[in-house]
């Protein structure tokens, strides 16, 4: 009996001491906040190297995309200490900089020899700078991203489908070269029976609650010639936001939605798109490049079944910018460790591993490597897309600007309210009101 008691006491002692061991080995823990998606898992893997090297433990707070902005902006506005590092959306940069939520990184970059010239210009402009076009940096480009497309390469390759398409359109069925071609392909597949199953044309973004439909519509507006403002007169939007070309772009998006999406596709964003594509419902899928590595690995629709293409042009080239920069939160009690993470993350070899694990590096050491385009079937398209990206407003009032567009375009595209011109006219009024309240226009 005494032997058992001694054994139990020894076990209890080991159990009590066991958790204390790693805690004493790692001096500090920092928390990194981001959205819950595939690249976040890659970052967890990558960050193990940081912990091994610096002895600083990492904690992660990942929030699902639909709640990400709400959750994180509330955290910043309430000066919360949850996040030491935040990989925040590109559009938050203005508000976060002006309201003092992010630490300005210029001095740190200068001291540590981190050069913004080492990163792709579009990502520096989109993720790091505020005011835009000035050398004021609030984040290090962490995750390059843009809105692209996937298609069912295996369906496209079928002789019967090829023949049918050629008969109908007089050309080979291939990845579309224009948005008009894209709509034709979607129409061609809509309602078609493949392997005894009814399939649909395209999964596109129609989500109402956060940013979904705005991102989707923008991928059509930019190639049709939409501009946010007069390049010579900031905040002058009349004739740019509601130009005849922009109207055509919005009408084209609605036409695609009406003709070629699966039933019940009225409030769909990235996850719904992934579900539709993975379940073999759609021929085309609009989604962020960030998901492409995961889709390529998918057993059912990945590998030889899937193809990728950049958002096709119409009048000009243009893709919606996604992606984020990594920032140090001003209210963090662990700024030194958070900055150490950024210093570590900026190294070319870490960036190479980041890309290899499934993250989209924005570092030129990765992207300018001659072999980069062949590292993945979507790598070349990613490079092309990042060369033509356009971003939404990154103003401090971005949320108001975004919600106004969500409402106006959802009203027009999904709820059939008014015309495209009326929707864009109303959007200008909404945006003018926001800028007037902000004192940017009279």
């Amino acid at each position: 009996m005494t032997k058992y008691l001694l054994g139990a006491a020894a076990l209890a002692a080991v159990a009590a001491l066991a958790p204390a061991a790693p805690a004493s080995a790692q001096s500090k823990t920092i928390t990194l906040c981001w959205a819950a998606w595939d690249p976040a898992n890659a970052l967890v893997e990558l960050s193990k190297d940081f912990t091994a090297k610096t002895n600083v433990a990492m904690k992660f707070e990942f929030v699902p995309w639909p709640n990400f902005a709400d959750r994180m902006l509330n955290e910043l506005n309430s000066k919360g200490k949850l996040c030491d590092l935040l990989i925040g959306d590109s559009q938050w940069i203005g508000g976060a900089a002006e309201n003092g939520h992010y630490v300005k990184l210029n001095d740190f970059f200068a001291k540590e020899g981190i050069k913004m010239d080492d990163f792709m210009p579009a990502t520096v402009l989109g993720y790091s700078e505020w005011p835009k076009g000035t050398p004021n940096y609030w984040a290090l480009p962490a995750m390059g991203d843009a809105l692209g497309w996937t298609y069912r390469k295996d369906w496209f390759a079928r002789p019967d489908i090829q023949a049918d398409f050629k008969k109908k359109h007089g050309r080979d069925l291939a990845a579309p070269k224009t948005l008009t071609e894209l709509t034709e392909i979607a129409q061609f597949f809509q309602g078609r029976e493949i392997d005894g199953k009814k399939v649909y044309g395209a999964a596109i973004f129609t989500e109402r609650g956060s940013e979904g439909i705005t991102m989707g519509v923008s991928n059509f507006l930019y190639p049709y010639g939409f501009k946010y403002q007069d390049p010579k007169k900031p905040y002058a939007m009349e004739g740019f936001v509601n130009s005849p070309d922009a109207v055509k772009g919005l009408e084209a998006y609605k036409a695609l939605f009406k003709c070629c999406t699966p039933p019940g596709y009225t409030d769909a964003y990235m996850q719904e798109g992934l579900d539709a594509f993975k379940s073999g419902q759609v021929a085309l899928q609009m989604n962020w490049f960030a998901f492409f590595p995961g889709l390529y690995k998918d057993e059912k629709v990945g590998g030889e079944h899937i193809g990728f293409f950049v958002n096709p042009p119409e009048k000009e080239h243009g893709s919606q910018l996604g992606g984020q920069g990594i920032s140090v939160v001003s209210y963090s009690p662990n700024k030194a460790e958070a900055l150490a993470y950024i210093k570590w993350f900026a190294q070319p070899e870490v960036q190479k591993k980041w890309w290899a694990l499934g993250g989209y590096s924005a570092h030129k050491a990765v992207l300018n490597d001659p072999g980069f385009a062949k590292t993945a079937p979507f790598a070349a398209d990613f490079l092309t897309a990042m060369g033509e990206v356009v971003d939404f407003w990154a103003e401090p009032s971005y949320a108001q600007l975004l919600l106004a567009e969500q409402k106006r375009v959802h009203d027009y595209v999904v709820a059939d309210k008014g015309t495209a011109k009326e929707a864009l006219d109303a959007l200008i009024k909404d945006w003018q009101k926001v800028f007037k309240d902000d004192g940017k226009v009279n």
Partner: protein, 320 residues
């Protein structure tokens, strides 16, 4: 509305109701002081949780304050927010959507709730089990209800669409409950009715069971028909309970948020954007704190005013 009891008279009543031993132990304090001591925490809590935020909200509604820019200079804007809200067509559209939702849910829940209560009151075999089953929906969280009805309404795999298809012969994918402008307002009404009819039924059941049997027995002796008994005894006696249920559901549905947000997010477009969704977007997504405070005050005054008128009517019915 119950008249507010003056605090001093409340303190006196508490003192009068206090047991002697309590008063003896607290020697040195007057009855009145002890009474104040007992009710003070409640009053402080009430002031801190209800009254102060209300006053603060009223104050903010006259300013340009934004929760995400706490360091920006605070400017008074007078009645600008109120004027802007009352002349904004989008706000009126949200109020219309709210009114449509409130009126139809109340009408349906009252009718169905009465029918359910009437059935349960019959005390048929196994009625206790059925009563428990019927009450399940109201025990669920609105978030859960919103999410699973979203699946039920899915045109391709949703059970609801299949059920309608089975009954009517219409293909299940041919209609979209939450994606169609015409059907979406009805889809949220249907879910709310499914969830809260048992609650209304429960209140009405209490009313039905409070009617003494001898009244019906006397009516039987007078050879009153069942219809006559219903109109002259059941309905008048149960009316205060129905009115109470309508009051509760009316107030609750006027500020409905969670279920609608999860089901439709206010869409398609702004078709089901009820007032509370607009308010949340203004306050916590756009961060127009001053503006949203003014909107909250307008909503509060509307609900408070309507509830007051209603309670007066309810008191008149009870006195009859």
């Amino acid at each position: 509305m119950t008249e507010l009891t003056p605090v001093s008279s409340l303190a006196d009543r508490v003192a009068a109701a206090s047991p002697d031993w309590a008063l003896r132990r607290a020697g040195g304090f007057s009855d009145r002081s002890i009474a104040w001591l007992f009710i003070a925490p409640t009053i402080v809590l009430l002031l801190a949780i209800n009254i102060f935020p209300l006053i603060w909200t009223i104050r903010l509604s006259f300013t340009n304050y934004r929760g995400n820019r706490p360091n920006a200079p605070l400017k008074s804007v007078g009645l600008d927010h109120y004027q802007s809200i009352l002349s904004d067509p989008d706000i009126w559209a949200a109020m219309q959507a709210t009114a449509h939702f409130v009126l139809w849910t109340i009408a349906l829940q009252t009718l169905l709730g009465f029918a359910l209560a009437w059935l349960i009151d019959r005390k048929f075999r196994g009625h206790a089990l059925w009563t428990t089953i019927i009450l399940i929906p109201m025990m669920l969280s609105p978030a859960v209800v919103g999410n699973f009805w979203r699946f039920l309404y899915q045109p391709q795999i949703g059970l609801f669409n299949y059920l309608v298809s089975f009954i009517s012969g219409v293909p299940p994918s041919s209609f979209e409950m939450i994606g169609s402008v015409k059907l979406a307002p009805w889809s949220i009404i249907l879910v709310d009715t499914w969830m809260w009819t048992p609650y209304v039924a429960l209140i009405i059941l209490a009313g039905l069971r409070s009617i003494p049997d001898y009244i019906y027995e006397a009516a039987e002796v007078d050879r009153a028909s069942s219809w006559r008994q219903f109109w002259s005894i059941t309905l008048p006696m149960v009316l205060p309970f129905i009115m109470l249920a309508v009051l509760f559901r009316g107030i609750e549905n006027f500020k409905m948020f969670d279920m609608v947000n999860l089901l439709t997010s206010g869409g398609p477009g702004s078709t089901t954007e009820v007032a509370s969704i607009t308010l949340k977007r203004e306050a916590f997504e756009k961060w127009r704190t001053g503006y949203s405070s003014a909107f909250a005050i307008i909503l509060f005054v509307t609900v408070f005013g309507l509830a007051n008128i209603y309670v007066k009517a309810l008191n008149r019915v009870r006195q009859r």
